[in-house]
C-alpha cells in the first residue's frame, strides 16, 4: 500500500508545481486556512486542511480504521468517517468493500448487495406480535450480544382486504413509504400462496442505474427530499402444498427476476448497487458514484418495462430460481429432517433451506447446486435465525423469510 510514497517524495522535490502542499507547509502553526485559489471545488468557505489531505494519506488512515473495526457496533466508525465531509465520504466509499468481497456489512446499501460466496452472513429475526413488527439483526443469536445487536432491517405487517403486505424499512419504527428509510415490501395474495418482493429502487449496478433513473426525470434540486418510492418487482415466491398434503413439508420456489442464472455460473456476477437512489442521490455530485460492483464480462440482459404506474418489472431473461431443499424422512424420529448445522433448533413448518434449482443445460457446478443460499428457522419463541449468502442480498433474504410468516393454514 505504500507504493505512493516514492512518488510523493519525488513530487515533493519539485514541490513548486504542487501549490497546495507547499503552501500548507509554510502556513503558520495550527492554521486551518488553506488558500481557496488552490482548489477548483465548489466549496464556498475555507475548508480544513484535514479535509484536503493527500488522498493516499487519507486512504491509509481510513483503511486503518476500517481494518480494525470489522464488526458492529465498532464498525460504525467507518460509517462516521463517511459522514464527516465530502472528501472523506469519497475516500471511505472507495476503501470499503462490498459484503461479497469482504463479508462485512458497512453501509445500508450493503443490505442490497449480494452476500459473500464462501460462507453465509448470520443474522436473526425477532418477531414482535403486539405490533406485527419483524426485526432483522446481525449476529448469531440475541443471547450472545444482548441488546447490542446491530439492527439491519425492520418490517411491519399490514393486512389489507385482499392481500397482506410487509413494509420493509431501515429503521425500526418508520414504515412510511414516503420516508427515505423505506426500501421495499413484500406483498402476498389472498391465500398466502404467492408473494411478490418489491424493491424501492431498480437493483442495477450504478452504471445502468443512471439510465433507469432518467425515465423518471427527477432532479434533486427540483423536488423536496421526499419522493414516492418506486415499486420494482424483483422476485416472486410461491408455496405449494406437498403432494402428500398435510403430511409433508410444503414446497417453496423463488424466482429472482433481478438475479440472472449466470450469477452462479462460473465467472458470473450478481447486480450490486453502489448507491441508494430514489430521485435523490445521497451526494449531489455524480462523480461520487463509485462502482463497487463485481464486474466481469457477464452481465445479463435486463429489461425495464412499466406495467402500470406503481409497478415496474425488472426481468432477467434467465432468472435464478431457488427451491427449498427437500427434507429427509427420519424413520426413527418419525419426522422430516434438514441439517441446519445447529442454527435451527425448534421444529417448525416455517423452517427452510433454499438452494438453486438448476437445469442440466444451465451448466451449474455440483458444488454450487449444493450450497444453501438461504436458511431460515426457529430457535425460540418469536426468534428465528437467517443465514444468507451470495447471490442473495440481506434485503431479498429478509423478504423471502417474511413470506414464511404469512403462509396460511391452507398451505400447512
Amino acid at each position: 500500500m505504500r507504493e505512493g510514497i516514492g512518488n510523493i517524495s519525488r513530487r515533493g522535490v519539485s514541490g513548486k508545481q504542487n501549490h497546495r502542499r507547499t503552501k500548507s507547509h509554510i502556513a503558520p502553526e495550527g492554521s486551518s486556512i488553506t488558500p481557496s485559489s488552490s482548489f477548483s471545488s465548489s466549496v464556498l468557505f475555507q475548508q480544513s486542511q484535514w479535509a484536503n489531505l493527500p488522498p493516499e494519506l487519507l486512504i491509509d488512515i481510513i483503511q486503518r480504521v476500517e481494518a480494525s473495526e470489522t464488526s458492529w457496533p465498532a464498525r460504525r466508525d467507518v460509517v462516521s468517517c463517511a459522514s464527516v465531509c465530502r472528501t472523506w465520504r469519497e475516500i471511505t466509499k472507495e476503501v470499503v468493500k462490498t459484503p461479497e468481497q469482504c463479508g462485512w456489512l458497512t453501509f445500508p446499501i450493503s443490505l442490497k448487495q449480494p452476500g459473500p460466496r464462501d460462507a453465509p452472513i448470520q443474522c436473526f429475526i425477532k418477531r414482535e406480535r403486539a405490533t406485527s413488527t419483524y426485526r432483522l439483526y446481525l449476529g448469531l443469536t440475541p443471547a450472545l450480544a444482548e441488546d447490542m445487536s446491530k439492527l439491519l432491517l425492520a418490517a411491519r405487517k399490514i393486512r389489507r382486504a385482499t392481500s397482506t403486505e410487509f413494509l420493509i424499512s431501515l429503521v425500526g419504527d418508520d414504515f412510511s413509504r414516503a420516508s427515505n428509510s423505506y426500501i421495499g415490501k413484500l406483498r402476498s395474495n389472498f391465500l398466502g400462496t404467492k408473494f411478490v418482493i418489491y424493491d424501492s429502487q431498480p437493483p442495477h449496478d450504478s452504471v445502468i442505474q443512471t439510465n433507469c433513473r432518467s425515465h423518471r426525470r427527477i432532479h434533486s434540486k427540483q423536488v423536496s427530499p421526499r419522493v414516492p418510492a418506486g415499486n420494482f418487482n424483483v422476485a416472486t415466491i410461491s408455496y405449494e402444498l406437498n403432494v402428500l398434503r398435510t403430511r409433508g413439508p410444503r414446497r417453496m420456489q423463488c424466482t429472482m427476476h433481478s438475479i440472472p442464472i449466470s450469477a452462479i455460473q462460473e465467472g458470473g456476477a450478481a447486480p450490486t448497487p453502489s448507491e441508494f437512489s430514489n430521485g435523490l442521490e445521497e451526494h449531489g455530485s455524480p462523480s461520487l458514484s463509485v462502482s463497487s460492483s463485481v464486474s466481469n464480462g457477464k452481465k445479463a440482459l435486463m429489461e425495464l418495462s412499466s406495467t402500470n404506474d406503481s409497478q415496474e418489472l425488472v426481468q432477467c431473461k434467465d432468472p435464478l430460481v431457488l427451491k427449498n431443499k427437500a427434507p429427509r424422512w427420519h424413520e426413527q424420529l418419525q419426522c422430516w429432517c434438514l441439517n441446519f448445522k445447529g442454527r435451527v433448533t425448534v421444529a417448525s413448518v416455517k423452517n427452510f433451506q433454499l438452494v438453486a434449482a438448476a437445469e442440466p443445460s444451465q451448466n451449474i457446478s455440483a458444488a454450487e447446486q449444493e450450497k444453501v443460499i438461504l436458511q431460515f428457522g426457529k430457535i425460540g419463541k418469536d426468534i428465528f435465525t437467517m443465514d444468507y449468502r451470495y447471490p442473495l442480498s440481506a434485503f431479498q433474504a429478509f423478504a423471502i423469510c417474511l413470506s414464511s410468516f404469512d403462509t396460511k393454514p391452507a398451505c400447512e
Binding site: 502553526e29 468557505f45 464527516v84 428509510s181
Partner: protein, 170 residues
C-alpha cells in the same frame, strides 16, 4: 572527507531558515528523502534545504529520528542481547505513544505532511495510526470538531445521509 556515510556530518535548513546541525548522518537514515540526497552527494558537512518543513516540525521529526536510531538492529541470539533488544523495543514503543499523545491537531497535521514529504515510512505509520485512533469511537460531528473540518454537505445531502444512513447516527 570521511569515506563512511555514518560518520558524515550534515546540516538541514528548514523553511523558516533555521539550520540544524546533524553530527551523525545515521540520525537521518529513516528520512528516505534526505538519505537519497546524501547518497547522491559526496561533500562532507553539506547543507540540505528542506523547504516544505518549518523549524518546529523539523525539530520534532529529528527528535523522533534520534530516538529511533538503530531500532531495527536484531540481536545475534545471545540471551542478554535479546533481553536488551526487547526491552529497548518496548521502551521505544512507549516513547512513541507519548510522542503522539498530546499532539495538537495542527501540529499532527504538519508532522504528517512532513513525514510524507521526507518519505519517513515508520514515522508516517505512527502518525496515520494515531489519526485512526483519534477517529475510533467517534461520531462524525465529533470527528469534525477534533480536526476542525467543516461540514460541506448541502442541507439536502445531509438530510438524505441521515435518512438513508441511520447507521451513522445511532
Amino acid at each position: 572527507m570521511s569515506s563512511s556515510d555514518s560518520e558524515r556530518m550534515l546540516k538541514l535548513k528548514s523553511s523558516d531558515g533555521v539550520t540544524f546541525d546533524i553530527k551523525d548522518a545515521i540520525v537521518v537514515t529513516k528520512l528516505e528523502f534526505i538519505k537519497n540526497i546524501i547518497e547522491d552527494c559526496c561533500g562532507d558537512n553539506d547543507l540540505i534545504l528542506v523547504p516544505n518543513v518549518n523549524s518546529e516540525i523539523l525539530a520534532m521529526v529529528l527528535e523522533w529520528c534520534k530516538k529511533h536510531v538503530g531500532d531495527d538492529i536484531i540481536s545475534d541470539g545471545e540471551d542478554d542481547e535479546e533481553n536488551e533488544y526487547f526491552s529497548r523495543k518496548k521502551e521505544i514503543k512507549k516513547w512513541d505513544a507519548e510522542f503522539v499523545k498530546n499532539l495538537d491537531q495542527g501540529v499532527l497535521y504538519h508532522l504528517l505532511m512532513a513525514a510524507d514529504y521526507l518519505n519517513a515510512k515508520q514515522l508516517l505509520d505512527l502518525l496515520t495510526q494515531r489519526v485512526a485512533d483519534m477517529i475510533k469511537g467517534k461520531k462524525s460531528e465529533q470527528i469534525r470538531q477534533i480536526f476542525n473540518i467543516k461540514n460541506d454537505f448541502t442541507p439536502e445531502e445531509e438530510e438524505a445521509i441521515k435518512k438513508r444512513n441511520p447507521w451513522a447516527f445511532e
